[in-house]
Symmetry: C2
Amino acid sequence: MHSRAIAELVLHVGRIASGEGFVEGLTAAQWAVLRYFAQANRFSRTPSAFAAFHGTTRGTASQTIKSLEIQGYLTRMRSEADRRSVRLLLTDKARGTLANDPFETLVRAADALPPGVRSHFANALQRMLGQVAGERGNPPFGTCASCQHLQSDDCGREGQASYACGFANEPLRLDELDGVCINFVPGKPMTMNGSVTGAAPR
Amino acid sequence: MHSRAIAELVLHVGRIASGEGFVEGLTAAQWAVLRYFAQANRFSRTPSAFAAFHGTTRGTASQTIKSLEIQGYLTRMRSEADRRSVRLLLTDKARGTLANDPFETLVRAADALPPGVRSHFANALQRMLGQVAGERGNPPFGTCASCQHLQSDDCGREGQASYACGFANEPLRLDELDGVCINFVPGKPMTMNGSVTGAAPR
DNA sequence: ATAATATAGTATCGCTTCGAAACTACCCTC
DNA sequence: GAGGGTAGTTTCGAAGCGATACTATATTAT
Protein backbone atom coordinates (compact mmCIF):
# COMPACT_ATOMS: atom_id res chain seq x y z
CA MET A 1 0.00 0.00 0.00
CA HIS A 2 1.39 3.35 -1.01
CA SER A 3 1.81 6.47 1.04
CA ARG A 4 -0.96 8.20 -0.82
CA ALA A 5 -3.41 5.45 -0.03
CA ILE A 6 -2.40 5.59 3.62
CA ALA A 7 -2.88 9.33 3.77
CA GLU A 8 -6.26 8.96 2.12
CA LEU A 9 -7.19 6.33 4.67
CA VAL A 10 -6.41 8.67 7.54
CA LEU A 11 -8.67 11.30 6.08
CA HIS A 12 -11.40 8.85 5.26
CA VAL A 13 -11.50 7.24 8.68
CA GLY A 14 -11.65 10.63 10.33
CA ARG A 15 -14.34 11.86 8.01
CA ILE A 16 -16.60 8.89 8.49
CA ALA A 17 -16.11 8.84 12.23
CA SER A 18 -16.74 12.49 12.88
CA GLY A 19 -19.04 13.26 10.01
CA GLU A 20 -22.74 12.57 10.05
CA GLY A 21 -22.56 15.11 12.81
CA PHE A 22 -26.20 15.46 13.67
CA VAL A 23 -26.41 12.79 16.28
CA GLU A 24 -27.93 14.19 19.46
CA GLY A 25 -28.59 17.51 17.75
CA LEU A 26 -24.98 18.62 17.73
CA THR A 27 -22.92 19.54 14.73
CA ALA A 28 -19.45 18.20 14.01
CA ALA A 29 -17.90 21.48 15.12
CA GLN A 30 -19.82 21.36 18.39
CA TRP A 31 -18.71 17.80 19.11
CA ALA A 32 -15.15 18.89 18.50
CA VAL A 33 -15.52 21.61 21.10
CA LEU A 34 -16.94 19.26 23.69
CA ARG A 35 -14.20 16.71 23.09
CA TYR A 36 -11.58 19.40 23.31
CA PHE A 37 -12.74 20.72 26.65
CA ALA A 38 -13.03 17.19 27.94
CA GLN A 39 -9.35 16.55 27.40
CA ALA A 40 -7.71 19.96 27.62
CA ASN A 41 -5.81 20.71 30.78
CA ARG A 42 -6.39 23.63 33.09
CA PHE A 43 -4.20 26.01 31.07
CA SER A 44 -5.91 25.27 27.80
CA ARG A 45 -9.63 25.50 28.43
CA THR A 46 -10.07 28.81 26.64
CA PRO A 47 -11.62 29.86 23.33
CA SER A 48 -8.26 30.86 21.88
CA ALA A 49 -6.65 27.57 22.75
CA PHE A 50 -9.47 25.67 21.11
CA ALA A 51 -9.22 27.82 18.02
CA ALA A 52 -5.51 27.09 17.75
CA PHE A 53 -6.08 23.40 18.29
CA HIS A 54 -8.87 23.08 15.82
CA GLY A 55 -7.17 25.21 13.20
CA THR A 56 -9.88 27.84 13.00
CA THR A 57 -10.23 31.47 13.97
CA ARG A 58 -11.06 32.81 17.40
CA GLY A 59 -14.24 34.32 16.02
CA THR A 60 -15.53 31.03 14.74
CA ALA A 61 -14.56 29.29 17.96
CA SER A 62 -16.36 31.94 19.94
CA GLN A 63 -19.57 31.35 18.03
CA THR A 64 -19.50 27.60 18.46
CA ILE A 65 -18.76 27.92 22.15
CA LYS A 66 -21.57 30.37 22.63
CA SER A 67 -24.04 28.00 21.03
CA LEU A 68 -22.97 25.23 23.40
CA GLU A 69 -23.23 27.53 26.37
CA ILE A 70 -26.78 28.43 25.42
CA GLN A 71 -27.66 24.77 25.20
CA GLY A 72 -26.21 24.15 28.63
CA TYR A 73 -23.15 22.13 27.71
CA LEU A 74 -20.56 24.62 28.88
CA THR A 75 -20.26 27.07 31.72
CA ARG A 76 -17.94 30.01 31.72
CA MET A 77 -15.85 31.62 34.42
CA ARG A 78 -13.64 34.63 34.06
CA SER A 79 -10.06 33.92 34.96
CA GLU A 80 -8.83 35.52 38.17
CA ALA A 81 -5.27 35.87 36.97
CA ASP A 82 -6.05 37.42 33.61
CA ARG A 83 -9.34 39.27 33.51
CA ARG A 84 -9.49 39.15 29.74
CA SER A 85 -9.48 35.41 29.79
CA VAL A 86 -12.31 32.97 30.15
CA ARG A 87 -12.42 29.47 31.53
CA LEU A 88 -14.85 27.00 30.08
CA LEU A 89 -16.00 23.89 31.87
CA LEU A 90 -18.11 20.98 30.73
CA THR A 91 -21.40 20.59 32.51
CA ASP A 92 -22.67 17.23 33.70
CA LYS A 93 -25.04 17.28 30.76
CA ALA A 94 -22.07 17.54 28.44
CA ARG A 95 -20.22 14.68 30.10
CA GLY A 96 -23.26 12.51 29.73
CA THR A 97 -23.74 13.49 26.12
CA LEU A 98 -20.15 12.76 25.21
CA ALA A 99 -20.90 9.08 25.61
CA ASN A 100 -23.06 9.34 22.49
CA ASP A 101 -20.40 11.10 20.47
CA PRO A 102 -20.29 9.53 17.00
CA PHE A 103 -16.57 9.69 17.50
CA GLU A 104 -16.85 6.87 20.04
CA THR A 105 -17.02 4.38 17.20
CA LEU A 106 -13.48 5.40 16.35
CA VAL A 107 -12.40 5.02 19.95
CA ARG A 108 -13.79 1.51 19.96
CA ALA A 109 -11.96 0.75 16.74
CA ALA A 110 -8.70 1.95 18.26
CA ASP A 111 -9.42 -0.10 21.33
CA ALA A 112 -9.90 -3.20 19.25
CA LEU A 113 -6.35 -3.06 17.94
CA PRO A 114 -4.01 -5.63 19.43
CA PRO A 115 -2.03 -3.99 22.25
CA GLY A 116 1.31 -4.36 20.52
CA VAL A 117 0.02 -2.86 17.32
CA ARG A 118 -1.69 -0.06 19.14
CA SER A 119 1.40 1.51 20.59
CA HIS A 120 3.28 1.39 17.31
CA PHE A 121 0.25 2.79 15.59
CA ALA A 122 0.10 5.64 18.05
CA ASN A 123 3.77 6.40 17.62
CA ALA A 124 3.50 6.48 13.85
CA LEU A 125 0.49 8.76 14.05
CA GLN A 126 2.27 11.10 16.40
CA ARG A 127 5.26 11.30 14.10
CA MET A 128 3.00 12.11 11.20
CA LEU A 129 1.23 14.75 13.21
CA GLY A 130 4.52 16.32 14.15
CA GLN A 131 5.60 16.54 10.56
CA VAL A 132 2.28 17.80 9.23
CA ALA A 133 1.85 20.33 12.00
CA GLY A 134 5.39 21.52 11.44
CA GLU A 135 4.86 22.07 7.72
CA ARG A 136 1.57 23.79 8.31
CA GLY A 137 2.61 25.92 11.26
CA ASN A 138 0.10 24.44 13.65
CA PRO A 139 0.96 24.13 17.33
CA PRO A 140 1.79 20.54 18.27
CA PHE A 141 -0.52 20.03 21.27
CA GLY A 142 0.71 17.21 23.44
CA THR A 143 0.47 16.16 27.06
CA CYS A 144 2.78 16.91 29.95
CA ALA A 145 4.26 13.43 29.81
CA SER A 146 6.52 14.34 26.90
CA CYS A 147 6.66 18.11 27.35
CA GLN A 148 9.83 20.08 27.84
CA HIS A 149 8.18 22.17 30.49
CA LEU A 150 7.46 19.28 32.79
CA GLN A 151 9.53 19.37 35.97
CA SER A 152 9.48 16.50 38.37
CA ASP A 153 10.80 16.65 41.89
CA ASP A 154 10.72 13.37 43.68
CA CYS A 155 12.52 14.73 46.81
CA GLY A 156 14.10 11.36 47.38
CA ARG A 157 10.85 10.09 48.82
CA GLU A 158 9.49 6.93 47.29
CA GLY A 159 6.31 7.26 45.29
CA GLN A 160 5.94 10.84 46.33
CA ALA A 161 7.15 12.69 43.25
CA SER A 162 5.59 16.06 42.66
CA TYR A 163 5.30 17.68 39.26
CA ALA A 164 5.20 21.19 37.97
CA CYS A 165 4.95 23.07 34.72
CA GLY A 166 7.99 25.23 34.13
CA PHE A 167 6.17 27.37 31.63
CA ALA A 168 3.22 28.30 33.79
CA ASN A 169 5.24 28.05 36.99
CA GLU A 170 2.49 26.04 38.58
CA PRO A 171 2.43 22.72 40.37
CA LEU A 172 0.59 19.92 38.61
CA ARG A 173 -1.62 17.33 40.16
CA LEU A 174 -1.03 13.78 39.02
CA ASP A 175 -4.34 13.61 37.19
CA GLU A 176 -3.45 16.70 35.23
CA LEU A 177 -0.51 15.13 33.46
CA ASP A 178 -2.72 13.49 30.85
CA GLY A 179 -4.44 16.66 29.70
CA VAL A 180 -3.71 18.18 26.34
CA CYS A 181 -1.93 21.51 26.64
CA ILE A 182 -1.57 24.42 24.27
CA ASN A 183 1.85 25.26 25.68
CA PHE A 184 3.21 21.85 24.87
CA VAL A 185 6.76 21.79 23.52
CA PRO A 186 7.82 18.39 22.19
CA GLY A 187 11.00 18.23 24.28
CA LYS A 188 12.55 15.13 25.75
CA PRO A 189 10.33 12.17 26.43
CA MET A 190 10.95 10.95 29.94
CA THR A 191 11.49 11.79 33.58
CA MET A 192 14.55 13.55 34.80
CA ASN A 193 16.69 13.00 37.85
CA GLY A 194 15.85 14.39 41.22
CA SER A 195 17.28 17.83 40.64
CA VAL A 196 14.82 20.63 40.52
CA THR A 197 15.47 23.18 37.86
CA GLY A 198 15.42 26.82 38.68
CA ALA A 199 12.68 28.50 40.62
CA ALA A 200 10.53 26.24 42.70
CA PRO A 201 6.82 26.59 42.07
CA ARG A 202 5.04 28.11 44.99
CA MET B 1 -1.45 6.17 25.13
CA HIS B 2 -5.13 5.44 25.41
CA SER B 3 -7.56 4.56 22.68
CA ARG B 4 -9.30 7.87 23.03
CA ALA B 5 -6.10 9.77 22.49
CA ILE B 6 -5.35 7.67 19.42
CA ALA B 7 -8.76 8.32 17.97
CA GLU B 8 -8.36 11.99 18.63
CA LEU B 9 -5.00 11.92 16.89
CA VAL B 10 -6.52 10.42 13.77
CA LEU B 11 -9.08 13.18 13.62
CA HIS B 12 -6.57 15.86 14.38
CA VAL B 13 -4.06 14.80 11.76
CA GLY B 14 -6.76 14.62 9.15
CA ARG B 15 -8.17 17.97 10.12
CA ILE B 16 -4.87 19.77 9.97
CA ALA B 17 -3.85 18.11 6.74
CA SER B 18 -7.05 18.74 4.83
CA GLY B 19 -8.27 21.84 6.58
CA GLU B 20 -7.09 25.31 5.75
CA GLY B 21 -8.66 24.47 2.46
CA PHE B 22 -8.13 27.64 0.55
CA VAL B 23 -4.82 26.80 -1.00
CA GLU B 24 -4.97 27.34 -4.75
CA GLY B 25 -8.48 28.75 -4.46
CA LEU B 26 -10.13 25.42 -3.78
CA THR B 27 -12.17 24.48 -0.76
CA ALA B 28 -11.67 21.34 1.28
CA ALA B 29 -14.72 19.75 -0.33
CA GLN B 30 -13.38 20.51 -3.80
CA TRP B 31 -9.98 19.01 -3.01
CA ALA B 32 -11.77 15.90 -1.82
CA VAL B 33 -13.58 15.61 -5.14
CA LEU B 34 -10.39 15.96 -7.15
CA ARG B 35 -8.61 13.39 -5.04
CA TYR B 36 -11.51 11.02 -5.36
CA PHE B 37 -11.67 11.16 -9.13
CA ALA B 38 -7.92 10.78 -9.27
CA GLN B 39 -8.07 7.41 -7.56
CA ALA B 40 -11.51 6.04 -8.37
CA ASN B 41 -11.66 3.29 -10.94
CA ARG B 42 -13.71 3.28 -14.10
CA PHE B 43 -16.89 2.05 -12.39
CA SER B 44 -16.80 4.66 -9.69
CA ARG B 45 -16.23 8.01 -11.34
CA THR B 46 -19.79 9.24 -10.88
CA PRO B 47 -21.41 11.83 -8.64
CA SER B 48 -23.33 9.20 -6.69
CA ALA B 49 -20.23 7.15 -6.02
CA PHE B 50 -18.42 10.19 -4.73
CA ALA B 51 -21.35 11.09 -2.51
CA ALA B 52 -21.34 7.60 -1.01
CA PHE B 53 -17.60 7.69 -0.51
CA HIS B 54 -17.51 11.10 1.06
CA GLY B 55 -20.53 10.48 3.23
CA THR B 56 -22.61 13.30 1.85
CA THR B 57 -25.73 13.63 -0.26
CA ARG B 58 -25.94 13.44 -4.03
CA GLY B 59 -27.20 16.99 -4.12
CA THR B 60 -24.22 18.36 -2.29
CA ALA B 61 -21.85 16.29 -4.39
CA SER B 62 -23.53 17.56 -7.53
CA GLN B 63 -22.94 21.16 -6.50
CA THR B 64 -19.28 20.66 -5.71
CA ILE B 65 -18.70 18.81 -8.95
CA LYS B 66 -20.44 21.51 -10.94
CA SER B 67 -18.22 24.18 -9.43
CA LEU B 68 -15.14 22.21 -10.43
CA GLU B 69 -16.45 21.67 -13.93
CA ILE B 70 -16.97 25.40 -14.32
CA GLN B 71 -13.43 26.03 -13.22
CA GLY B 72 -12.15 23.54 -15.75
CA TYR B 73 -11.01 20.78 -13.43
CA LEU B 74 -13.46 18.13 -14.54
CA THR B 75 -15.04 17.12 -17.81
CA ARG B 76 -18.22 15.14 -18.06
CA MET B 77 -19.36 12.39 -20.41
CA ARG B 78 -22.69 10.66 -20.42
CA SER B 79 -22.38 6.95 -19.97
CA GLU B 80 -23.21 4.84 -22.99
CA ALA B 81 -24.48 1.90 -21.01
CA ASP B 82 -26.77 3.86 -18.70
CA ARG B 83 -27.95 7.12 -20.15
CA ARG B 84 -28.85 8.51 -16.75
CA SER B 85 -25.31 8.20 -15.61
CA VAL B 86 -22.39 10.54 -15.99
CA ARG B 87 -18.66 9.96 -16.12
CA LEU B 88 -16.36 12.57 -14.68
CA LEU B 89 -12.73 12.82 -15.73
CA LEU B 90 -9.92 14.97 -14.40
CA THR B 91 -8.51 17.49 -16.82
CA ASP B 92 -4.79 18.06 -17.20
CA LYS B 93 -5.25 21.23 -15.22
CA ALA B 94 -6.63 19.19 -12.36
CA ARG B 95 -3.77 16.70 -12.46
CA GLY B 96 -1.31 19.54 -12.29
CA THR B 97 -3.15 21.23 -9.46
CA LEU B 98 -3.30 18.07 -7.40
CA ALA B 99 0.44 18.40 -6.82
CA ASN B 100 -0.34 21.45 -4.67
CA ASP B 101 -3.01 19.69 -2.64
CA PRO B 102 -2.51 20.61 1.02
CA PHE B 103 -3.10 16.93 1.58
CA GLU B 104 0.32 16.22 0.08
CA THR B 105 1.91 17.13 3.38
CA LEU B 106 0.16 14.12 4.83
CA VAL B 107 1.38 11.93 1.99
CA ARG B 108 4.91 13.03 2.68
CA ALA B 109 4.44 12.30 6.37
CA ALA B 110 3.23 8.79 5.55
CA ASP B 111 6.14 8.38 3.20
CA ALA B 112 8.58 9.34 5.93
CA LEU B 113 7.54 6.38 8.07
CA PRO B 114 10.03 3.54 8.18
CA PRO B 115 8.97 0.85 5.69
CA GLY B 116 8.31 -1.77 8.33
CA VAL B 117 6.19 0.58 10.37
CA ARG B 118 4.32 1.79 7.34
CA SER B 119 2.79 -1.52 6.42
CA HIS B 120 1.67 -2.25 9.97
CA PHE B 121 0.30 1.23 10.22
CA ALA B 122 -1.66 0.76 7.02
CA ASN B 123 -3.06 -2.53 8.24
CA ALA B 124 -4.18 -1.07 11.53
CA LEU B 125 -5.82 1.84 9.78
CA GLN B 126 -7.64 -0.45 7.42
CA ARG B 127 -8.95 -2.53 10.29
CA MET B 128 -10.18 0.57 12.02
CA LEU B 129 -11.85 1.79 8.85
CA GLY B 130 -13.57 -1.54 8.44
CA GLN B 131 -14.97 -1.41 11.94
CA VAL B 132 -16.04 2.23 11.80
CA ALA B 133 -17.59 1.93 8.36
CA GLY B 134 -19.43 -1.17 9.51
CA GLU B 135 -20.90 0.53 12.56
CA ARG B 136 -21.87 3.57 10.56
CA GLY B 137 -23.23 1.78 7.55
CA ASN B 138 -20.80 3.35 5.12
CA PRO B 139 -19.65 1.38 2.10
CA PRO B 140 -16.14 0.05 2.59
CA PHE B 141 -14.48 1.24 -0.65
CA GLY B 142 -11.43 -0.83 -1.38
CA THR B 143 -9.42 -1.85 -4.40
CA CYS B 144 -9.74 -4.90 -6.61
CA ALA B 145 -6.74 -6.52 -4.98
CA SER B 146 -8.78 -7.65 -2.00
CA CYS B 147 -12.25 -7.64 -3.53
CA GLN B 148 -14.52 -10.64 -3.69
CA HIS B 149 -15.52 -9.77 -7.22
CA LEU B 150 -12.03 -10.07 -8.61
CA GLN B 151 -11.66 -13.05 -10.91
CA SER B 152 -8.27 -14.04 -12.17
CA ASP B 153 -7.72 -16.41 -15.02
CA ASP B 154 -4.11 -17.29 -15.47
CA CYS B 155 -4.79 -19.79 -18.27
CA GLY B 156 -1.83 -21.79 -17.17
CA ARG B 157 0.47 -19.34 -18.88
CA GLU B 158 3.15 -17.82 -16.73
CA GLY B 159 2.92 -14.09 -16.15
CA GLN B 160 -0.03 -13.79 -18.47
CA ALA B 161 -2.92 -13.76 -16.02
CA SER B 162 -5.96 -11.78 -17.03
CA TYR B 163 -8.38 -10.26 -14.57
CA ALA B 164 -12.05 -9.45 -14.56
CA CYS B 165 -14.68 -8.03 -12.25
CA GLY B 166 -17.41 -10.53 -11.54
CA PHE B 167 -19.79 -7.81 -10.44
CA ALA B 168 -19.59 -5.66 -13.54
CA ASN B 169 -18.83 -8.61 -15.78
CA GLU B 170 -16.03 -6.69 -17.36
CA PRO B 171 -12.39 -7.47 -17.96
CA LEU B 172 -9.90 -5.40 -16.01
CA ARG B 173 -6.63 -4.00 -17.22
CA LEU B 174 -3.69 -4.46 -14.92
CA ASP B 175 -3.45 -0.76 -14.15
CA GLU B 176 -7.08 -0.73 -13.08
CA LEU B 177 -6.56 -3.06 -10.16
CA ASP B 178 -5.35 -0.25 -7.91
CA GLY B 179 -8.35 2.01 -8.33
CA VAL B 180 -10.83 2.50 -5.55
CA CYS B 181 -14.22 0.99 -6.34
CA ILE B 182 -17.68 1.61 -5.01
CA ASN B 183 -18.67 -2.01 -5.57
CA PHE B 184 -15.88 -3.32 -3.40
CA VAL B 185 -16.80 -6.23 -1.16
CA PRO B 186 -14.13 -7.05 1.42
CA GLY B 187 -13.94 -10.73 0.48
CA LYS B 188 -10.93 -12.92 0.86
CA PRO B 189 -7.54 -11.26 0.75
CA MET B 190 -5.65 -13.58 -1.60
CA THR B 191 -7.69 -16.22 -3.35
CA MET B 192 -5.84 -17.64 -6.34
CA ASN B 193 -5.34 -21.29 -6.73
CA GLY B 194 -2.09 -22.79 -5.58
CA SER B 195 0.42 -20.39 -7.01
CA VAL B 196 2.72 -17.72 -5.81
CA THR B 197 0.80 -14.58 -5.03
CA GLY B 198 3.18 -11.79 -4.41
CA ALA B 199 5.12 -11.25 -1.24
CA ALA B 200 4.33 -13.06 1.94
CA PRO B 201 3.22 -10.97 4.92
CA ARG B 202 6.41 -9.94 6.57
C1' DA C 1 -46.93 -3.36 -23.95
C1' DT C 2 -47.87 -0.55 -20.12
C1' DA C 3 -47.74 0.77 -15.61
C1' DA C 4 -45.36 1.08 -11.28
C1' DT C 5 -41.22 1.65 -9.08
C1' DA C 6 -36.42 2.56 -8.57
C1' DT C 7 -32.23 5.00 -9.68
C1' DA C 8 -28.82 8.88 -11.52
C1' DG C 9 -28.46 13.31 -11.43
C1' DT C 10 -29.92 18.32 -10.92
C1' DA C 11 -32.17 22.57 -9.03
C1' DT C 12 -33.90 25.25 -5.30
C1' DC C 13 -34.50 26.76 -0.55
C1' DG C 14 -33.32 27.88 3.99
C1' DC C 15 -30.21 27.23 7.61
C1' DT C 16 -25.72 26.98 9.45
C1' DT C 17 -21.05 27.74 9.42
C1' DC C 18 -17.11 29.81 8.43
C1' DG C 19 -13.40 33.48 7.94
C1' DA C 20 -12.32 38.35 7.81
C1' DA C 21 -12.43 42.54 9.92
C1' DA C 22 -13.74 45.75 13.32
C1' DC C 23 -14.32 46.40 18.09
C1' DT C 24 -13.93 46.20 23.46
C1' DA C 25 -11.55 45.17 27.43
C1' DC C 26 -7.53 44.05 29.61
C1' DC C 27 -2.41 43.15 30.22
C1' DC C 28 2.39 44.41 29.93
C1' DT C 29 6.48 47.14 29.04
C1' DC C 30 8.86 51.29 28.73
C1' DG D 1 0.40 56.61 31.44
C1' DA D 2 1.13 55.84 26.50
C1' DG D 3 1.68 52.46 23.19
C1' DG D 4 1.41 48.04 21.65
C1' DG D 5 -0.03 43.36 22.27
C1' DT D 6 -3.50 39.79 23.54
C1' DA D 7 -8.33 37.50 24.85
C1' DG D 8 -12.60 37.48 23.40
C1' DT D 9 -16.82 39.04 20.94
C1' DT D 10 -19.62 40.83 17.24
C1' DT D 11 -21.01 41.61 12.64
C1' DC D 12 -21.21 40.69 7.85
C1' DG D 13 -20.97 38.36 3.55
C1' DA D 14 -20.01 34.17 1.21
C1' DA D 15 -20.12 29.40 0.88
C1' DG D 16 -21.48 24.88 2.35
C1' DC D 17 -24.72 21.67 3.52
C1' DG D 18 -29.07 18.76 3.88
C1' DA D 19 -33.81 18.33 2.63
C1' DT D 20 -36.97 18.32 -0.85
C1' DA D 21 -38.78 18.35 -5.21
C1' DC D 22 -37.98 17.56 -9.92
C1' DT D 23 -36.45 15.35 -14.73
C1' DA D 24 -34.87 11.64 -17.22
C1' DT D 25 -33.74 7.00 -17.78
C1' DA D 26 -33.86 1.81 -16.13
C1' DT D 27 -36.00 -1.99 -14.35
C1' DT D 28 -39.60 -4.81 -12.86
C1' DA D 29 -44.38 -6.35 -12.44
C1' DT D 30 -48.77 -7.04 -14.41
